[in-house]
Every structure is written in structure tokens, then in C-alpha cells.
């Protein structure tokens, strides 16, 4: 990979890792490619698709590869048309300056110098203006909503208006980490395409290409095992001390209270430059509660399952509120550790 970066920074950018829009190769997802190409061949491309699947498996990369393919004007073959990385189409799409592509993400927040926490309705309103103009050369117009999970109700309703009567030669690509949370009215206007987590071979290839493949075989095996087919997970676990954070949290959540260790962990995941560490922390916390709830339900302990699932909801609310209202992250982390500790404690007494 060249060092040169084209794409603008996003709210979920990882340092030193290319954005999906500037990732030239799409690894895996052959069936989905084939399906869209067949639809194109038959002249039956849907006007809107949802690319559904867990975060980090290449949905946005797929979306941009598809956009490049459509705008290259190539006849549909067995794969999306590869576009040279020094071609104007590739470079303009990557830098966000292609006249026929509109890529909507969480916008910059001028006050905090960071990003807003949602894909705002103002961003969605840009679609109307974009589509009120011709494409400029008669080609497709591509709108990428990345991800649709980031829309609140007002934004989703505004999008619905655009999906209702779309103009010709226009394709909407909605990226959805959890498609179940989309408005049913949006889902029903789109063709949902599920992308599967990457298999070990494909994940390894993505990591090699991104220069993120660990030399140590034991590390690479552990990485493949823990990443759940998500390149993003793998990179975060590797780069940001994610493995250590998860391990530390596991110990604190189930062991006896260790104030010093709790402080150290909370310190590590809070602060301006630790957004990703905090994500790993939050993600692992939710995972622990969800897993425990599932275990309890499986063993027939509905009472405990209910309690754990309530704790999961509370934890999720706490995470959202911390982000939305910019609450103290260290305090949030400490509270979360003690919340986990209480919730996961083996039940005392009998039922």
C-alpha cells in the first residue's frame, strides 16, 4: 500500500489504515458481487440496496467497489470491474470529489473539532440537492449512506422521502451493521444483501494487504480466532491494546473488586486519544453481559437471564449517554466495571 492518503478522515477512522473508499481490492463477498452483476446484466438493478452484516467485514469497501464498477461503464462480468488506482474514477471517488457519488457519514462537529454522534438530517437533505442535478455524463448516480445505523428517526424519515420515488439511473447503498434496527419502511424499499463475516483465509488476506498481519504465528492464530471475521476487530485488537483491555476487563468483571486495577483500566480507556480503546472496552462489556444472559437462559435460569438482559440495556444506555452528553469517560468506565461485577456475580442463595 502506498503511504499517500486520499480519503477524508471519518469518525471511525483507524490510524494508518486506508478508508474503504481508498481500498482498491475487494476481498471475498463473491456471491453478493455475482448477484448484483447478474441483476445488472438483466437490466434489473434495484434502486436501493442494504448491505447488511457485522462491522468491519468490508461492507463499505464493497459499496465503493460497486460504485467504481458502475461508473467505469464496464459490461458486467464475473467480478466488479477493477479500476486502476491512478485512474481519475478511483482517485475522485476516494477523495470524495466524484460528481456522481455522494457519500454520507457522520459530519464534522465544528464545536468539538471531532464528529457528530449521528448522521444528521441535514446530511440526508443533501441527497435532494444531489439528485436535482443530472449526473453530468449520463452515468449512474450513487448515494452511499455509511452507515444507516447512524440515522435517527428524523434523518430516516427524510431518507424515506428520497427512496419513495427515486429518479432513474440512481442507486442508494445503505450500509447497516444491524439491519434489524432500520425502519421497516426503509427496509421494505431496499433489497437487503447480507454479507458474511470473512473466513480465515480472506481475513488473513485483508490483514496482509493492510500491512496488519502479525509475524508471530501464535499471535496471528489468536487474532483470527478472536476477530469474528471482522478486519476492523482484528486491527483494533492488534493495534490498540485491545487484547489487553479485553483480558483486563474479563478479570475485573468476574474476580473480586480490585480498585487499583480498575483505576488503571479506566485510565487506559478514557481521554482524548483513547476513543478506540473505549469502544473496545464498551464492546467487550456488552459482550460479557450478553453472553452471560444467553448462558443463564440456556440453563433455564430465566430470573438471572432477565436481570442480565436488563443490565445489558442499562449498560447500553450508559454508553450512548456518555457519548452524547460528553460525560466523564473515566467515571463511566469505573461505573461499568462495578456494574459488571455486580451483575455477573454468581447467584447467592437458591431460587
Amino acid at each position: 500500500m502506498s503511504e499517500e492518503r486520499l480519503a477524508p478522515q471519518q469518525h471511525d477512522s483507524l490510524e494508518g489504515i486506508a478508508e474503504p473508499s481508498e481500498t482498491p481490492e475487494l476481498v471475498g463477498h463473491l456471491e453478493a458481487q455475482y448477484m448484483l452483476l447478474a441483476a445488472q446484466k438483466a437490466g434489473r438493478l434495484p434502486h436501493a440496496i442494504v448491505l447488511a452484516g457485522p462491522q468491519g467485514i468490508g461492507k463499505a469497501t464493497f459499496a465503493f467497489a460497486f460504485a467504481r464498477h458502475l461508473l467505469s461503464g464496464a459490461e458486467p462480468g464475473a467480478n466488479f470491474e477493477p479500476v486502476a488506482i491512478d485512474s481519475p474514477i478511483y482517485r475522485q471517488i476516494a477523495s470524495g470529489a466524484h460528481p456522481s457519488v455522494l457519500h454520507l457519514t457522520r459530519p464534522a462537529n465544528d464545536k468539538t473539532k471531532g464528529f457528530k454522534t449521528v448522521l444528521s438530517v441535514d446530511e440526508i437533505r443533501r441527497i435532494g440537492r444531489f439528485l436535482s442535478f443530472t449526473s453530468g455524463n449520463g452515468s449512474y448516480r450513487v448515494v452511499i449512506i455509511d452507515p444507516a445505523d447512524d440515522m435517527r428517526a428524523a434523518a430516516a424519515n427524510a431518507l424515506l422521502k428520497n427512496l419513495e420515488e427515486p429518479p432513474s439511473r440512481t442507486i442508494f447503498i445503505l450500509i447497516a451493521h444491524s439491519p434489524g434496527a432500520l425502519l421497516p419502511t426503509i427496509r421494505s424499499r431496499c433489497q437487503v444483501i447480507r454479507l458474511a463475516p470473512l473466513n480465515d483465509k480472506d481475513l488473513a488476506e485483508v490483514l496482509v494487504r493492510a500491512g496488519q498481519w502479525p509475524d508471530d504465528e501464535r499471535v496471528s492464530d489468536a487474532l483470527l480466532a478472536r476477530s469474528e471475521g471482522s478486519a476492523r476487530n482484528a486491527i483494533i485488537l492488534q493495534q490498540y491494546g485491545g487484547v489487553e483491555i479485553a483480558t483486563a476487563l474479563d478479570a475485573l468483571a468476574t474476580g473480586s473488586a480490585d480498585i487499583a486495577a480498575s483505576q488503571r483500566l479506566a485510565e487506559a480507556v478514557s481521554g482524548r486519544d483513547s476513543a478506540i480503546q473505549l469502544d473496545v472496552f464498551n464492546g467487550r462489556a456488552l459482550e460479557l453481559l450478553a453472553n452471560a444472559a444467553a448462558d443463564a437462559a440456556q440453563s433455564g435460569d430465566t430470573n438471572r437471564a432477565k436481570k442480565l438482559s436488563d443490565a445489558w440495556h442499562m449498560a447500553r444506555i450508559a454508553i450512548t449517554e456518555t457519548a452524547t452528553y460528553n460525560l466523564d469517560q473515566k467515571q463511566h468506565a469505573l461505573t461499568m466495571i462495578s456494574r459488571l461485577n455486580t451483575a455477573l456475580k454468581p447467584q447467592s442463595g437458591r431460587m
Partner: protein
Amino acid sequence: MRVIIERSNLLKSLNHIHRVVERRNTIPILSNALLTAEGATLEMKATDLDLEMNEATPARVEQAGSTTVPAHLLYDIVRKLPDGAEVMLKVDDGGAAMSVISGRTSFRLQCLPASDFPALSSGSYPHIFRLESTALKGLIDKTQFAISTEETRYYLNGIYFHTHESGGKLKLRAVATDGHRLARAEMDAPAGSEGMAGIIIPRKTVSEMQKLLDDPDIAVTTEVSESKIRFTIGPVILTSKLIDGTFPDYQRVIPANNDKKLILDRQSFASAVDRVSTISSERGRAVKLSIADGQVTLAVNNPDSGSATEEVAADYSSDPIEIGFNAKYLLDVAAQLGGTEARFLLADAGSPTLIQDAADEHTLYVLMPMRV
């Protein structure tokens, strides 16, 4: 790239192209202008992805090449250089920066690669025709004021250009409307425009055209495809996307049977409207015209501040009529009518009124009344 250019030439081009560049841009390359030095010219190009302007200026090219630099910054720098100066633009060996050197002043601007600069201009144009700049400017000037700014009806946010057969002759027509008034101007269709589908030229493109057409006596080459239009005006090439919509069937709102004919001295009518509307409120700038034999009485009534009337002599012999109009719309139309006499054709207080310059058959205005 290394090129030497007169400051006045550089400024003139930058003056045109920098306007296209949005002030606030999240995408860095869109803040930049593309500079290309080749042969004996420096070409500069700017875009907002909907509209693209390209201008060539004579320059001494010492080393051909191209780059992109922040457009507004370059414009501000060149503006502040002394008149009559020569400017050297020189890209570093690495291509990462461009120096702007004039006399003892020197700037270094960060560059982005020329290959990343977006292009609208590719593709073919099935229709090509030439117009005198004054004729094209006439079509635009007479209709531009009626373009809608309300975005729900995006298809009204531009001028509708199309050809129309009228009296056995093919005309090129420009039409704009905001739903309250409509302006239509036409001229003989130039060779090459036959069979062209109607197109809607966006407002921003129209206003850039207006500024570029100030130079009289240039032949303007217009090229049209289904999704783009390209104007070549001397050294400037303006390429624009079109509005992707259907312009309404405007003919149905142009009244054909209005039989009450009113002829007014344009100047004194406009002055009278301007005077009486001084008292009107912000909300409803309505002026009521009471038209009777040989005379129009203008009246404005503002419950908050008072009232005003003025009488204007007129040529009128039909049945008396009272009709209200938005004062601003009357003034807009009066300003567009060039001649001395304005002709109104009226039906009733609730129907569209046709307004024309008594000496100009090529232009007409339709105004909807206000209910007063």
C-alpha cells in the same frame, strides 16, 4: 511546472473562476483550482461538482506541467500584488508546493495532485450552436429574475431553454417562473439547435453566465447534451450539469384571451409604484390598481401605518377593473421592460395578467394578482 504571467491577466482569470469554488469545503481538492501550463497559455479550472469553469490566459511557459492550489488563497494573493507586476508560478521538484513569486514577494502554497481534480467535461454534445453574446445575455437577463429560490420545486430553480415552433419559424426560448410570475424571452433559433430537447439551466450557472457575458460582441458557442451544457465564451469554458426534472407546461398559464388593454408610460408607472409602496408592510406588499377610462389609481393600505394613493395617466377604454399586485413584482417587471410604453392585458382580479414592452414582441411576462 514553471510559468511567468502578467498579474492583470492572472487576476482577470482568477476573478472569474474563484467564484465557482465554495468557501467552505470538507473535500480539500474542491477548494483548489487546477492550473495547467502548456504551449503559450496557463489554463485555470475550478469546480463545485455541479458547475465547472475553465479559462485560458496567455503566459510564458518555461516548463509545462500542472498542479492544484487553493483557489481563494491564490486569488487573494494575486489581488494584493502591485498592478503591472509579473508573477512567476513554480511547482517544486517534489510537486508538494507551488511558489508564487513577484518582485520581492514570495509565497509557497501547498498543492494536491492534478490527477485528483474532478472533471465534468468529458462526453459528447449532440447539439452545437452559436449565438451573439448580446442575444444570449438578453434571453438570460429578461428571465433570470423570475427563477424560483424555493427548493421543493427544484425544477423551477433554473431557466428552461428549449426550441419552439411559432408562426412557421423555430424560436429559441428561455422561460423562468417562481409560480407567481413568469418570464419568457425568445429569439430566432440558431442553426444547430433544431431538435434539441428542453433543458433547465441551474440558477448558479445562469448567474455566472450573466457575469461572463458582459463583454459585448463575442460569439458564444453552446453545446448541449441530455445531462450537460457547455458554453465557450472567448477564453472561458463553462460546463454545467442540468436540473434533472420536467419543466411544467408553462403555455397553459399564458393568457391568450385577455381583452382589457392598458398602456402606461413605464417610467412614471414604476416611479408611482415605488412611491406608494413605501408605506406597505413587509408581509403584504400589495398595491391595488383601479383602472378606469384614461387613468390608473394606485393605492396601498397598511393597517399599521397608513395609506397612499397616486394617479397615473393611462391609455385604457375597457370596462373599469380593480386588481392587486405585489409591488415588488410590478417593479421587477417594469425594470425588465426596456421601452417607454408598457402594455398590460388583463382579464379579471383573479386571473393572470400579461405584460409586454409595447415595442418588443419577443418578450412577455405573466403576473398573478394578489387578492386584496
